[in-house]
């Protein structure tokens, strides 16, 4: 026990610093996902064939290949074209692309779940499509989207651990590092687990309570 406390003292601050990196990755990748996801959603709904088609291909390709593969293509693969990204940037770009495809599906499902009559009522009052979207559809879709989007945030937090493979110093990278220095894998990785749980559990509680509240309505 004493021994564990000592380990905690020497490694926890180091690993906890990784949590900051994990959160930075998460926030930036989420922003990227939302921008890409919304663009893909609107591209698919735009009625412009080619634009919708491209968005469809993007969504299918990213969802049908492992995120790790995409990360390696962007970080290692692109160097063949002379594009050298630093690890953090490569991770943010990859996670945004992966997340964007998932976010697009969440957004589309949310928008489609809004009663069609809402759009018709808005149009029948003379609102343009963008105005009807902004004022009538999206606010209602937002409420529907909130629980699945919270779950999406949780998977994003966990997916940032992929960045370990290209040496971004987030939680997993640092605990791997600490474990190979100390030879105390169980102790070190349990610290990592505590950090992930501290971030993810409240979010998952929040998502569950949102779902319960919706079911009660």
């Amino acid at each position: 026990m004493n021994d564990y406390l000592q380990l905690l003292q020497s490694y926890f601050p180091y690993i906890a610093k990784g949590a900051v990196v994990t959160l930075e990755l998460t926030v930036l990748a989420l922003l990227g996902s939302v921008v890409i996801g919304l663009s893909a959603t609107f591209a698919k709904m735009s009625g412009l064939r080619i634009v919708g088609y491209i968005a469809g291909i993007y969504i299918e390709l990213t969802r049908a290949t492992p995120a790790l593969l995409q990360l390696f293509i962007i970080y290692f693969g692109l160097t063949s074209f002379g594009i050298r990204l630093d690890p953090f940037t490569a991770a943010v770009i990859t996670l945004s692309l992966v997340g964007g495809a998932y976010a697009a599906e969440i957004f589309r499902a949310g928008i489609e779940a809004v009663d069609r009559g809402q759009f018709e009522a808005a149009r029948s009052l003379g609102m343009s499509t963008p105005l009807a979207m902004r004022r009538i559809i999206l606010p209602q879709a937002g409420v529907i989207i909130l629980p699945p989007f919270t779950n999406f945030i949780i998977s994003m937090i966990k997916d940032t651990s992929l960045a370990l493979t290209i040496s971004v110093p987030e939680i997993m990278y640092r605990s791997y590092d600490a474990s190979s220095q100390s030879y105390r894998s169980m102790a070190v990785y349990s610290m990592a687990a505590i950090l992930y749980l501290a971030i993810c559990l409240p979010l998952s509680r929040f998502a569950k309570s949102l779902e319960r509240r919706r079911a009660a309505q």
């Binding site: 009559g117 808005a122 029948s124 009052l125 003379g126 105005l131």
Partner: protein, 247 residues
């Protein structure tokens, strides 16, 4: 006779291979209220939806306020002038009653908020719901929701009002309060086309009744004629069936 506001000439509508409207000819004059009756599936809703372009007609012409409506017309402008009230109200659930009423005046007509609110309260007062201005749709009864929906439409100052079975989703005891509002509008000279199953109401408020069946206008005329001296066998059969239902 007053000037025609709306004129339909051979209006057709098909959903894929299904021909729903097979050439509807109809003229609506300023201040007139026209009731449209007919069996389920005869194309009454489709007709109204083709007028404000929620559906795109596949043939014929629609002339509104003297101008032909074509593919290149400004449909948003058209819809500002042609209000529609729906069977299921379609109130915006995330806005209060007043919020629903002022939404389009502020964002489409670009009215100032205080101006729109004053007018909105006035309109809610006219449908007897001033005290519900700050209530959300989920806090209102069906009849109250429908009255808010009518006020929301009127806030755009439409030239023509399209009403599609606006009482058929209501509990029987709530129908009266909504029909009262429509009756008032008719008295004030609002031009309207109302699809209805309420034959007694059609007889009372309509200046003209149009009987549709199979995607065409089978018979049209003043209510007394339509209800007491129906000419076509199809109308006679329809009226017999409807009156039996009422008992």
């Amino acid at each position: 006779m007053s000037a025609p506001i709306l004129h339909l000439d051979g209006l057709q509508m098909a959903f894929g291979a299904v021909q729903v409207l097979r050439g509807v000819d109809l003229t609506v004059r300023e201040g007139e209220s026209v009731a449209i009756i007919g069996p389920s599936g005869s194309g009454k809703s489709t007709l109204l939806r083709c007028l404000n372009r929620l559906e795109t007609p596949t043939g014929g012409t629609v002339t509104f306020e003297g101008k032909a409506i074509t593919e290149t017309s400004d449909f948003n402008r058209l819809r500002m002038r042609m209000g529609m009230v729906f069977q299921h109200f379609n109130l915006f659930p995330h806005m209060t009653a007043l919020g629903n009423v002022i939404e389009a005046p502020i964002h489409v007509l670009k009215q100032r908020r205080d101006e729109a609110e004053a007018r909105g309260r006035d309109l809610l007062g006219k449908v007897g719901l001033l005290e519900k201005a700050d209530a959300y749709p989920r806090q209102l009864s069906g009849g109250q929701k429908q009255r808010v929906a009518i006020a929301r439409c009127m806030a755009m100052n439409p030239r023509l009002l399209l009403l599609d079975e606006i009482t058929s989703a209501l509990d029987p005891e709530l129908v009266g309060e909504v029909l009262d509002v429509v009756r008032d509008l008719a008295r004030q000279g609002m031009t309207m086309m109302l699809v209805t199953h309420e034959m007694r109401f059609a007889r009372e408020v309509a200046d003209r009744v149009v009987f549709m069946d199979g995607g065409v206008v089978v018979e049209a005329g003043p209510p007394e004629e339509i209800f007491t001296q129906p000419k076509s066998p199809r109308l006679r059969k329809f009226l017999t069936a409807v009156l039996e239902q009422v008992g």
